[in-house]
Symmetry: D2
Subunit: 392 residues, 4 copies
Amino acid sequence: MLNGERKTPRPLRWAMVGGGRLGQVGYKHRCGALRDNTAFALVAGAFDIVPERGREFGVNLGVDADRCYDDYRTLFAQEAQREDGIEVVSVATPNGTHYQITRAALLAGLHVICEKPLFFTSREAYEIKALAAEKNRIVGVTYGFSGHPLLLQMRAMIANGQIGEVRMVDLQYTHGFNATDEVDRLSDAQKWRIDPQISGPSFVLGDISTHTYYLSQLVMPQMQISELLCDRQSFIPSRAPLEDNALVMMRYANGAVGRMWASSVNAGAMSSQRIHIVGSKASLEWTDVNPSELSYQVQGQPNQTLYRGMPYLDETCNAWERLGALHTEGLTESWANIYLKFALAIDACNRGDRQALDQLVYPDIDAGIDGVRWIENCVRSADQGARWVAFE
Amino acid sequence: MLNGERKTPRPLRWAMVGGGRLGQVGYKHRCGALRDNTAFALVAGAFDIVPERGREFGVNLGVDADRCYDDYRTLFAQEAQREDGIEVVSVATPNGTHYQITRAALLAGLHVICEKPLFFTSREAYEIKALAAEKNRIVGVTYGFSGHPLLLQMRAMIANGQIGEVRMVDLQYTHGFNATDEVDRLSDAQKWRIDPQISGPSFVLGDISTHTYYLSQLVMPQMQISELLCDRQSFIPSRAPLEDNALVMMRYANGAVGRMWASSVNAGAMSSQRIHIVGSKASLEWTDVNPSELSYQVQGQPNQTLYRGMPYLDETCNAWERLGALHTEGLTESWANIYLKFALAIDACNRGDRQALDQLVYPDIDAGIDGVRWIENCVRSADQGARWVAFE
Amino acid sequence: MLNGERKTPRPLRWAMVGGGRLGQVGYKHRCGALRDNTAFALVAGAFDIVPERGREFGVNLGVDADRCYDDYRTLFAQEAQREDGIEVVSVATPNGTHYQITRAALLAGLHVICEKPLFFTSREAYEIKALAAEKNRIVGVTYGFSGHPLLLQMRAMIANGQIGEVRMVDLQYTHGFNATDEVDRLSDAQKWRIDPQISGPSFVLGDISTHTYYLSQLVMPQMQISELLCDRQSFIPSRAPLEDNALVMMRYANGAVGRMWASSVNAGAMSSQRIHIVGSKASLEWTDVNPSELSYQVQGQPNQTLYRGMPYLDETCNAWERLGALHTEGLTESWANIYLKFALAIDACNRGDRQALDQLVYPDIDAGIDGVRWIENCVRSADQGARWVAFE
Amino acid sequence: MLNGERKTPRPLRWAMVGGGRLGQVGYKHRCGALRDNTAFALVAGAFDIVPERGREFGVNLGVDADRCYDDYRTLFAQEAQREDGIEVVSVATPNGTHYQITRAALLAGLHVICEKPLFFTSREAYEIKALAAEKNRIVGVTYGFSGHPLLLQMRAMIANGQIGEVRMVDLQYTHGFNATDEVDRLSDAQKWRIDPQISGPSFVLGDISTHTYYLSQLVMPQMQISELLCDRQSFIPSRAPLEDNALVMMRYANGAVGRMWASSVNAGAMSSQRIHIVGSKASLEWTDVNPSELSYQVQGQPNQTLYRGMPYLDETCNAWERLGALHTEGLTESWANIYLKFALAIDACNRGDRQALDQLVYPDIDAGIDGVRWIENCVRSADQGARWVAFE
């Protein structure tokens, strides 16, 4: 049970690159990091590509005007001069800048929390992993849905054999907000997402399916994809070569199979993200629109619904409980949980507590690498006409 | 609005082959055919592979003992001798016998209503189609879920452009009753389904996915699959080469894509069958466990739920309304509707009313052929290691 | 498991009074009675207040024209002359005629199945009960929702102590089809319902709440109301003195409390009827729009959903199973079940098998009397300004 | 759209009385007040009845040890000495202390935010209202569910006539956590709630039904109860005279009727709070477990579900939007919204901007008074044996 009391000695001095007024994700980072004011303190930032707008924005958040910088380079350089300079930075900028900013931050001795998809290529990701190790710094990835406590319940139940052996993995992250191309013309946040120079080799595969793919890894850490096949489409032709819809089939090393549907043209859909794991004895299903409920269906028994915050849940789940049963938690709590994990990871790293770090389940650099690999393999298959490819 | 009043001059004299006490589907045929006693009258049968058990059963249903025959050959031969002999026969036997019984019935001058999957091969199906044409007889196929009125609402809405152009077709028919092999050992009805000699080239693809595939054709008659890819598994190894789980991807001629999940090992699932069509403007979704509700989701508008029996529905839907809004209909009504359509088709055929016949939307021999083709293409793809194949 | 095989020696010769083309309930009677053609055979009727329309209708159902009578008196008189005359009659006419027709039928030696609410007064009902006893005939009441098998599961679970002691009974039957007075002007079926001369002392209390009240008695036979309080309204003033909305509070002899909301002005509602029983350990909830699901909520445990047709259900529930799990049953099956019970009751009565009769749980004359008493007590309370009255 | 940027010139200096480690509600206050660090800053507190525990707790939240006081009197006295002393205090203590603490705070010149139910009697509440006016200070009440944006959508739709005239108000707040008396023995938070000396004249009526009653006032400000009737029970006898279950019937001045069910013995219930308003044309329904969905049911049209964050919602609703459509908000956002409103009210009050204050819809002292009156009237009716009483 979390109630805001500190879990680390003091709040970490934290800055953001990006996450300004026009984007939606910056607020989620701040809600997560600043939830209880005991893990992070926002003390600086380069919030916006337009410096003056970013400065005004930062001041409105309570940041000192002279610590609202024009760009990330100045941010890192100036803060390095201060005794009370930042220790960790979050990167909430378009995909194409993640690599360079993360690299610069690590070189400046900072811990980094970066948006997904981490980078364009796994080669870049492995390079950054090596750099982080060399600098003894953490790189966390904001798979923002992964902090919902019931996902840890799923993880515990699967590990405990409560569904038997996994046979089928059914993943979905779809919405319909790009069913027409109106948003492509109007929204800056959308424009860069469909520009391969900025977005990278994919649109919905990177933008949304990486979330759900990570959830599947989180709840089934032992499962490995051996082969996959991806068919992707650009139903709005101007988005080509980037896809607005993609279907993936997976084959796992243990003989299980799976599928993913990622789409931004699922017109009218308000159901979003779903993860459904079928075992030899039972199934588990969770959706992000009802994150406080977990469906557990044992063959031959009444179907069960488990509720967040109840004493019958696994202690690894309830450790992240905040509001109590019947009191609805949302995406904010999920972000708060992963940011608290980042703080715990940074603290352990700073203390050199390798054991604590190894035991902490959080979206780390390896999770970020896996997301990039997922995209790479999907794109490689799709570009061969949707053929099976070995998962590399 | 249907209330049981006759739609044809008199009830057709009807017999069943199979459908005895130990199977589950026979009762559905009788519920459908005999719903109002104005379309069909059950006057004879060869209900069971064990003649005496079949005779006792038939008598318990109210059939004269001397019209309960030992086998279908005797049934057809003896009834042909009577002035009041049967006019139409339903075939509710294991798959491997459909072809020979249907052929014999047509040769005996009978109309035929046959269980799905119709036959083992499309070659057989085309041959039967030619024979039926030659004999001027109807062959109907009991896609038993296809009589739910809201499916016709979906059909009308798609035809009217209410979802825009179809982009994604998401089909599912899954259950978990075969999650273990217990039922393989205990149930006669299951045993033959996993024996290729009797069941044919597939298990769940034929046994269940043909239903959902037909529903997709029913609601989108204009959509044609150009290519598909099927990956099938035998999670219970003793079922090999027949699959207990299958994933299919489809590509349609208009550029739409689709997928199907058929499974009898979806452990714990009580949700069964789902058909979800995504268009460029909106989506429609229907499930067989809530057949009186249709979800209509227009991008950018509140989601809508349409209810069976309401005046706002299309007249082609409400023509098949029976109980009135709020009064729950179930699978029985669906069967009653398709059997009434069979009666209307037979009557039109008997009267030589080609126009009436052509306008009637019902699961006819072509729908049966398409189901067999669906299976053939899926199996062909699967047997090539789940490669894309042109839909033949 | 029911599959249509006879449960009684032969179908009973059955007629209907009322239930013609313009009403909705007649079809439900026929669907129930004729479900399998093994319990009842429709051989005569006085289907309509307009004789010629009734005759045409009866012929369309397959009844001989000369057994389609002008009125119930002729029906009873003429059929009494025949060796193959009717044995049982169903009364599906406006409320105000139930008493006289039932009385005449009993005097003619017939078993009677009558629509609810049975009569205007409990005095009439007790008189008819005595007459039925004297004539050794059954009077059944068509609480048409009471045949859903999961209600017997609720009954068994409550009897078995699976919810503990009953504390709160929450009943609801509401719809919105009378939200405006349009239907009052257009529909004959509605016109008589709001005319106290024909409908009796209540509208929604009698028309719909009696259904749900009976369901509560069915699932909790031991629970007795000691006091109640009813507040009723006529939101469409022209319906006064009859109510289109009513709220009731109940106090039970064991200390439990309850409430009922009956309404025909619950604008937009498509949820209909709900029965929710709270015990000291757990709750049960069932709705008629999802009759194949039963919610079982044990305090401190995951919530459970039980599904019709599953082996884990009580045998008293599964005895009435027809289609099998996952195959949706609807209101037709419920009517089929109560009509089959009527046939079993009539058969036991005819055979003088008192024990079989006493063990049969079905909506008998006592259930009909209780429904009338429910209305009487509600109306008495309401007419005193919604004061508590002892349940008489 | 809220993104954390300041809405007032600077964060208010804020303290808490109560809300320590052992209670659950304190964290909700802090999550609400400190959401964006732009409305409030937590600088002092008397967090716990056990001073040392409270001090340790405060320090763990980041409060200076020397501003963690032993009790509220010391808090108010010492802070009044400081130039940077607190401006506003939240009272999150057992009910019986609300009056004295609020009074002391106002006398100390502080704005007050107090838990519900505000006080034991409306006399006290009116007195405090007068004192607040005299001191020109705000008294806000933490009806913590009332900040969910879709409630403002309901309010706008009802005001716009989208459901017609209100006819029926159906309110519910039930849970089952007190189904047994185990919690009465184990939990301090429960013990005081069933002690009339500390809890006041009611248990569930005050503890939970006041929330839902306020929601009904929020969405229908024009509706006034003229009479009500309340029947309350103590199913766990040791809780008497305080009730663990209560049923209320309401009559409104406009002829509408209503009901409320409040319970802590609804065993197994995980559904919590529901508000359902039936108008002459349509109904609206909202629950706190799915706060991002609003059901809108127009008679004769497909049912609609409106989703939080969508452009089609009223601007008074979307003004409080934070995370964007499909991104689940929970109870935290509701608290954040009402605390932001408190900050806006305090700022307007401080500036003497009466117009801004009058236009702000938030749970103010009048809402607190109404909650107390609600309880008083319910208790008065119940204590007369559940008779109708005029709403005073």
